[in-house]
């Protein structure tokens, strides 16, 4: 990888969570938790499934399918079981709703 910086142009992600999701998935794969071919196979299946009803755009639909794939993989492996993921999501939601504007939002643990 070179150290030069990309010229400013089109942003690679539409929303910060898409970038976070992408990084999380790549990091898991790079840490050896799943191979990239295994990822693309699982992702391809979800895209196919979601695309059965209507053609998917390459933006919101695409990243939604990506998120569903990762949640499914992590639920299956037990690294982030569905119940646990829902609980932690609820903790974050409560934290955002109860933290005064401008203060850092944190959850316990």
């Amino acid at each position: 990888m070179t150290t030069e910086t990309a010229p400013t142009g089109t942003a690679p992600f539409d929303e910060p969570w898409q970038a976070q999701l992408f990084a999380l998935t790549v990091a898991l794969s790079e840490a050896g938790h799943f191979s990239w071919p295994a990822w693309t196979e699982a992702f391809g299946a979800v895209l196919k499934d979601h695309g059965a009803a209507r053609p998917l755009d390459g933006q919101g639909d695409y990243w939604n399918a990506w998120l569903v794939t990762l949640e499914h993989l992590l639920d299956g492996s037990g690294w982030a079981a569905r119940d646990e993921a829902e609980q932690v999501r609820a903790l974050w939601e409560d934290a955002y709703l109860s933290t005064p504007h401008g203060k850092p939002v944190r959850i316990a643990g």
């Binding site: 990888m1 070179t2 010229p7 690679p12 992600f13 990091a27 840490a31 982030a80 974050w92």
Partner: protein, 204 residues
Amino acid sequence: MPHDHHDHPHSLLPSDPALRVKALETILTRKGLVDPAALDAILETYEKKVGPHLGARVVARAWSDPAFMAALRQDSTAAIATLGISGRQGEHVVAVENTPETHNMVVCTLCSCYPWPLLGIPPAWYKSDAYRARAVREPRKVLAEFGVTLPEGQKVRVWDSTAEVRYLVIPMRPEGTEGLDEAQLAALVSRDSMIGTGLAGAPA
């Protein structure tokens, strides 16, 4: 009602997917399955460093250096690595060269495999069902929508990317570029020309 306080008494609630991603990140970092520093490094790379300017360097070098072009034909991944560009996942890059006889075009019919180290994150249209379904079925029609009309006799070859093999199109060098140096040549090489949905630009 006094209006001398904030309109938002609490922090703005992120979207549902944003909260779900946050939840996964929290769980995975707590369990030590991902390293926050590794996440930051990946974000930095894909948001700021990689992009089509890197692929354009490869194309410009291929146009100006016949030895590099020969090396690229033989083993693209190794030739590209000599420019200091390599994939994080050890994926194999294959450079496919446009000629007057054949125009190359790249798709991923499975999902969105793409030569990240050379072109960055793919554009929305590359990830759309419309492109993924139609690129193989009716490439000339798709090319026409990108404003590309090929001569009658030029065949279109469509390459389907996989997790293991990613393709980089080497567009044809535009005419009238004999005196240009590599940086000037690289400026003529658009992202789309390296996916095959565009042609290299003419010098200004």
